[in-house]
Symmetry: C2
Subunit: 397 residues, 2 copies
């Protein structure tokens, strides 16, 4: 199929008040889709993530990734409250991830803003959501991973719980925010009515566990850590090869028969320890040992090629260097791209994952410098050059 | 804030041809938002997930979770091709997760379907996407976790790579599909033009790694497994208490000072091994040992309460039983809900995570039995009772 780059969200105006990952990520997804996203930062300071590692020539490339495709302005929300309210009248969407209550204290909570713009869609991303006893706590990805149950099921049974190495709570929270916003936009297109979208990192992570927590919800058995193995079938998981690790699954009887034939161990089909799937799940450690006898004499690509050729799912466990050089990932799927930063020049970042035939989202350009588009953006909202100069002198922007 | 239950996607008709998790999950999210979702299954067999564990009274509760809020019909896509084409004319969206090429072989690929319905939005979720050398491979969550780099950064440095315990690739793929669909819907509302949305589990997982892969993208350092610790700062991670594990972060100098004062170890502020954040990151194992001296004499809730009271982020590592009974999660946020299944009766499943003030998504009812709504749905598409009876007799439905 062909993907035409395009702008599904052309003409939609978004103010991104977000910091660090979750809200800025949601805004970046929508910016790649063609929305006009204006990042609003504290004058002289900016998003905390401007100081996050990794950096290149003193500039945070972490910040660049989550704020590509946006314009940038500065605004002191206390001193510049009336300026903010004037801008809010003309935008479609606000995204923020302050602790619940912060915007209310500034007199800029959703209830106030909808008075000046009833069609406004106001998305808030927080650690624990806008309601409930933990709502005022600061939210961080690892806390959401801990309190969702994710860590309790990640790791080896004999070792301590582990978090997923990536900020999956932040990413899922950000994606859910973008999804809620587009649902609200569809409703507003039909009715003219805006609304608040309330996303929590903890809720978002809980949903991602559904297939595992369903075990608990069904019979109150508490799911345990099981390394890379499965409760549903065996063998399956990661296995040591001569040059790295391979992952494959042969869950169910026909896959198990296929595997035994393929690795030349058909006698295992008669072995009482592995007779049925249920027994294999019970004896998975012994089974994995036998499989490792085979894999440890092969290279990862030998195992992957052989298993794929007989129709069993298999893949290498890649590190970031291998991911980056993979002909599928970096070739056809173009999962990394390069922006041109005004100070640092060319910087590689992660690309969009959503591909569409008519309006495929794409990275439109670098993250902004702090206040880079102040003049252009404030002018577009009807402020004069004199006013903008005055805002600067009074440190409002 | 108040959440009014509502239907942002009222009047939108979706055919869900999905199996197992990713595509059915995407359709469930949109069904909770009020779209009219019809699950289409193979007559007499149905979605493979109808056989997935866990089960209650012989019925898969796993299937129930991912197919709540939907109606169900059966259709043999080969024998019933003309019936399918008649229905496609009247729907807005199709979601499927066959291997790329399967629908084309049936003569029901996007290029064919758009001839009968140019406004159709056709979302395909696959392991590797519609293009590239791996596109025809079967896609499974663990393979996406392995090939995205996720596993390479999950686990302890001295042990083998691990996957996140939950099917995060499936969940992120499904959420991305729903997001791409709503962007396409916004475009179609404006232009009348439909399109194909191409989502891969691998691409979706790669995006969730962006904050870590940015290290590689910046200076080609390959990120390593680091347990529950951070490259950006120390101390932070999970610590053993008397009755379980706690997670907390004190990254940065002011948080470090606060922590030392709070635990009564101010002499550590003068310790050369922990003088700066950079040095603390280097000596994190020694530091974690000292912190465990403190936590191991406390309960989890003592540590959490104390650290929260001084403004440091902290939380317990909860297992599924604790998650289910948590007053915030199960109380105010209602993250689990109960459906009433036609055979099994009351079954608990995971709730929606997106909350909205005007049209909050909600679980609308049980998953369907195989073909439960055949008569009602086929009638609504203009087929007569006689025709429906004939389809049944010929095993087309």
């Amino acid at each position: 199929m062909d993907y035409k780059k395009g702008s599904a969200l052309e003409g939609i105006k978004i103010l991104d008040l977000g910091r660090v990952i979750a809200a800025p990520f949601a805004a970046a997804l929508l910016a790649d889709m063609g929305a006009d996203v204006i990042k609003v930062e504290i004058p002289g300071i900016g998003d905390d993530a401007r100081d996050n590692l990794p950096k290149k020539d003193g500039e945070s490339t972490y910040f660049m990734n989550f704020n590509r495709s946006k314009k940038g302005i500065t605004l002191d929300l206390k001193k510049g409250k009336s300026i903010f309210l004037k801008i809010v009248k003309e935008v479609d969407i606000i995204i923020e991830n302050f602790r619940p209550g912060v915007m209310d204290k500034l007199g800029l909570g959703y209830e106030e803003l909808k008075k000046v713009n009833p069609g406004l869609i106001y998305a808030s991303v927080s650690g624990f959501g806008q309601t409930g006893p933990y709502s005022k706590r600061a939210g961080y990805d690892p806390i959401a991973q801990a309190m969702s149950g994710m860590m309790s099921i990640t790791g080896q049974p004999e070792n301590a719980p582990l978090r997923a190495g990536a900020s999956v709570a932040d990413t899922m929270g950000g994606t859910n925010a973008a999804l809620g916003i587009l649902a609200a936009l569809h409703y507003r297109n039909r009715t003219g009515v805006g609304q608040m979208v309330d996303i929590s990192l903890l809720d978002s992570t809980i949903v991602s566990l559904a297939s595992v927590s369903q075990v608990y919800l069904t019979d109150r058995t508490v799911p345990q850590r099981r390394g890379n193995g499965y409760v549903a079938g065996a063998p399956g998981g990661s296995y040591q090869c001569k040059d790295g690790f391979v992952i494959f699954l042969a869950l169910g009887d026909s896959a198990w028969q296929k595997l035994c034939k393929t690795i030349g161990r058909e006698e295992l089909l008669e072995d009482e320890r592995f007779k049925t799937n249920q027994i294999r799940v019970k004896n998975y450690l012994q089974l994995d040992e036998l499989i490792t006898e085979w894999t440890s004499n092969q290279t990862v690509s030998e195992v992957v090629d052989l298993l794929l050729s007989v129709g069993l799912p298999a893949g290498p466990i890649l590190d970031m260097d291998q991911v980056y050089h993979d002909p599928h990932i970096m070739g056809d799927r173009e999962m990394f791209t390069t922006i041109n930063h005004p100070i640092v020049g060319k910087v590689d970042i992660t690309n969009q994952s959503i591909k569409m035939s008519e309006t495929s989202p794409f990275v439109r350009g670098s993250s902004p410098l702090l206040g880079e588009h102040n003049v252009e953006v404030y002018k577009s909202f009807g402020f004069s050059e004199e006013e903008i100069e005055e805002f600067k002198n009074n440190k409002i922007i």
